[in-house]
Symmetry: C2
Subunit: 424 residues, 2 copies
C-alpha cells in the first residue's frame, strides 16, 4: 500500500513541471492579453495536442474522443483492466485564470509519469481525460465534455448556438468532429471503476485554515430564483415614510433576513443576492419595483430545500406586512452531488499523510464530477488558491502546495486502484 511514495525532490520537480505547463497552456488563448479558450476553438484543439504530447511522454496511449475530450490510458497489470479515471477540464471562462481545470489534468499526468518512470503497474488501468467544455463559455451549456463520457447529451444541445450563431453541430464539423458520432464518447459502465478530480478550491477556506489540501465532501446543490417585490412608486418628497410601499425597503429587509437565517441551516450553506434592479430608478422616486436574484447552495438537498422555503416565507411575510406583492420563480436547479465515502476516506488518508492533518469541505462551485457522479463514484481533492480567487487572471497557487497535491494524488491513485480491484 505504501509503494507509491513520491520523494520530496520528485514532488518538487513534478510541481515545477506542472507550473511551467500551466503557463504554456495559458499561452494558448483566443486573445494574447487575456486567457480565453473555449470549446471546439482552434485553441482548444491546440491545447489538446499539447496535452496529448505530455500524456504520451508519461507513457500513455492517447486519443481524442468524439466530443473533443483528450484522453490517455496507462495500462494496469492486466490488459483491458477497468480504469480509475482522473480528469478535469481544459476550457476556460473569458479572461480566466490558468489553474482552474488545467491543474487537475496536469497533476494527473504527473501521477502517471511517476508510475511510468518507476515501472509500476496497478491493478486498475489509469485513464486521464482533459474535458473539452466544463465552463459553458461558448454555448451557455455546461459539462459537455463529461456528459459525452456518460452518454447524456440532450438532443437539443446540437442546435445550441454561440455568440456568432454557430451551432454546436457546426462547430464540431469545423473542428473535424462528427456530430453523428457523439455516442461513441460514451464509456461502458464496467470500464470505469471510479473518478478522481483535483481542482483549485476557488474559495478561501483552505487558505484561512493554513492548509494546502482538503477533501471534498460534496459538490453543493444550487437553486437560482428570479424574485420581485412590487409596491408603489411615489414622489420621494411628498409621500410620508408611514405611507410608502417602497419595494427597495422591502427588499432590504429581506436581504438582512437572508443573511441572518442562512447560517442557522448549517455552516456550509450560502445564499447570495447577486443582482438587484430598482425601478423606476430615479433619485427622487420611491422604488415601485425591485427585481433581484437569489442563489442558494448547500451540500445536502434537505437543508437546501428547507432554507429556500424559509427564505421565501420570509419574503412573503415582509411583503404582506408592507402591503406589497412578492413573487419568485426558480429558473435553475442542480442537485447536490455527494462524494463517495470510500474515496473521501482514501483522499483523507493521503492528505493526512502529506500535510499532517486533513480537512473536509464542500465544493461551492460546479465540476465535471457532477456529470460523472451520475454513473460512477467520484472523489475530489482541493488545492488552496490565493485569496480564494478564481475565474480571474489573479488566480494563483503555490508551487509548494502543488508538490504536496501531487504527492497526495499519487497516493490516492495507488490506494484506490488497489481497493478498486478488491472491492468494486
Amino acid at each position: 500500500m505504501r509503494r507509491c511514495l513520491m520523494s520530496e525532490s520528485e514532488a518538487a520537480q513534478a510541481s515545477a513541471r506542472v507550473m511551467t505547463r500551466c503557463d504554456q497552456l495559458a499561452a494558448i488563448s483566443e486573445t494574447p492579453e487575456a486567457l480565453t479558450r473555449v470549446y471546439l476553438s482552434p485553441e482548444h484543439l491546440r491545447a489538446n495536442r499539447q496535452v496529448a504530447a505530455w500524456m504520451e511522454a508519461a507513457g500513455m496511449r492517447v486519443w481524442q474522443d468524439s466530443v473533443g475530450n483528450i484522453c490517455g490510458r496507462y495500462e494496469g497489470l492486466q490488459p483491458d483492466a477497468p480504469a480509475l479515471l482522473l480528469g478535469s477540464h481544459l476550457d476556460t471562462v473569458r479572461n480566466a485564470g490558468r489553474y482552474d481545470g488545467m491543474l487537475g489534468v496536469l497533476t494527473a499526468i504527473e501521477t502517471v509519469q511517476w508510475l511510468h518512470q518507476h515501472q509500476q503497474r496497478l491493478p486498475l488501468a489509469i485513464e486521464i481525460v482533459g474535458f473539452g467544455d466544463e465552463e459553458g463559455t461558448r454555448f451557455g451549456i455546461t459539462l459537455l465534455g463529461s456528459r459525452g463520457l456518460t452518454g447524456s447529451w440532450p438532443d437539443h444541445w446540437l442546435a445550441q448556438t454561440d455568440g456568432n450563431s454557430i451551432t454546436v453541430a457546426e462547430a464540431m464539423a469545423d473542428a473535424g468532429l462528427n456530430a453523428a458520432q457523439i455516442a461513441d464518447a460514451e464509456r461502458p459502465l464496467a470500464s470505469i471503476k471510479a473518478y478522481l478530480e483535483l481542482h483549485i478550491e476557488q474559495g478561501p477556506v483552505l487558505e484561512q485554515q493554513a492548509l494546502a489540501l482538503g477533501v471534498v465532501t460534496a459538490i453543493n446543490g444550487a437553486r437560482r430564483l428570479n424574485c420581485q417585490f412590487i409596491g408603489h412608486a411615489g414622489h420621494a418628497g411628498t409621500v410620508p415614510m408611514t405611507h410608502r410601499q417602497d419595494a427597495l425597503a422591502a427588499a432590504a429587509e429581506w436581504m438582512v433576513a437572508i443573511e441572518q437565517h442562512t447560517p442557522r441551516y448549517g455552516r456550509d450553506l450560502v445564499a447570495t443576492v447577486g443582482t438587484l434592479q430598482c425601478l423606476p430608478g430615479a433619485v427622487n422616486v420611491i422604488p415601485g419595483e425591485v427585481r433581484l436574484t437569489l442563489d442558494v447552495r448547500g451540500p445536502e438537498e434537505a437543508s437546501l430545500a428547507a432554507l429556500v422555503a424559509e427564505l421565501l416565507e420570509q419574503a412573503d411575510a415582509i411583503a404582506q406586512r408592507r402591503g406589497l406583492q412578492f413573487a419568485a420563480e426558480e429558473y435553475y436547479r442542480i442537485a447536490a452531488t455527494p462524494c463517495d465515502a470510500q474515496l473521501q476516506a482514501a483522499i483523507s488518508d493521503a492528505v493526512t499523510q502529506v500535510q499532517g492533518r486533513t480537512i473536509s469541505l464542500p465544493s461551492g462551485a460546479g465540476h465535471d464530477a457532477i456529470a460523472i457522479a451520475e454513473r460512477w463514484p467520484v472523489g475530489m481533492l482541493f488545492v488552496r488558491c490565493a485569496g480564494g480567487i478564481s475565474h480571474h487572471p489573479a488566480e494563483a497557487v503555490a508551487a509548494s502546495d502543488v508538490a504536496q497535491a501531487i504527492q497526495a494524488y499519487l497516493q490516492v491513485v495507488c490506494d484506490v486502484a488497489a481497493q478498486g480491484q478488491e472491492t468494486r
Copy 2:
C-alpha cells in the same frame, strides 16, 4: 374683511371653467398623446397667448416679460399700488399631468375675474404670473421663470443646452426674446408685497385626511447624495457566509436603518434610496460594490442636517463592522423654505371657513415659491390630488375641491391685500 364671499354657484361655475381650461392647456403639447410643454417651445408661447386672453377677459392688463413669463395686472384702489403676486408655472415634465402648475395660474385668474365682475378694487394691485419654466424639463436647470422676477439668473444659464444642443440664449432668440434683456424681468422689491401660490399637493396627506385644502408650512429642504459601499466580489458558491464582504448586504442593512431612524427626526422628514446599482451584478457573484443614492428632505434645516449626519454615521459603522468602505458625496442641496407666518394664518383662516377645519403640512416637492421667497414673503395653498399622484397623466383633482380652493383663494387674496396695505 368678509366682502370677498364667493357664492356656491359662482364657485361651481369658476371651478368648471378652470377644469375646462386645464383640458384646453393640456391640448397644447409637443406630442398629441402625452402632455409635454417645455420652456421657450412653440407650445409654451401658444399657452402664454391663451392664458393672456383669459387674463384680459378677467380685466387684467397683460404682458410677456423678458424671460417668457406671462404676466397680468389688476389695478388696486390706487394706481401704481404695490402688488400681491399670485402665480404658478405653465411648463410641464414629459408625459405630464394637467394640474401641476396650471391649476395655480387658472384659479388665480378666477379670483381676479370675480373681483372684476363684482367691480371690487383692493388696497393692493393683484398680479398673476404664469412662469415659463419651473420643472427644468428642457435645460436641466429649474425655476427659470421665477428667478427672472428675482433677478437671480446665474451667468452660466445662457450657455446651458437642451437635448438638441440648443442653448438657452438661442432658444430665447428663437422664441422672439432677447437674452440681453433678461434683467428687465427683475421686479423692484417695493413693487410686490407678497406672493401666493396654489398648487396640487403631489402627495397623499390631504386625501388621507379627507380634506380638500391644506396650508403649506414650508417647502422642504433637500439633500441628495451619491453613496457607495465597497467590499469584495467573490464566488457565490465558494465563499462561506462568515467570510464575505458583501457590499449589497451592507447596503441592505443601511437601508433598513434609514427606514428606522428617519421617523425619529420628525414625521415630516423623509429619506429615500431611489437608485441602486450592484456590481459586478451576476447571479453567482457576491456583490463587490454597490452605488446608491440617498434623497433626504425636511421642512427645517437643523433636523434635516442632523438626520443626514446620523444616517452617514450609521453607514460608516456598518461598513467598518463588515470590513467594507463607505463613501458619500452630497451633489445637490436646497435649503428649506419656510412660508410666511402671517400668510399661513390668512390661508388657515380661509381654509377653515371653507372646509370647516384646517391642516398644515410641508411641501415635499419644490415650487416657484422657493425662488420668490428669496425676496418676498410667500404663502402656499395645497389642493388634494387623487392618490397623491403627479408628474403622470393620471394626475387628477375633483371639481368640487377646485371650487372650494377658489373660494378660499379669493378670501386669502382679499384678506392679504387688506393686511398688506396696513402692515407691510
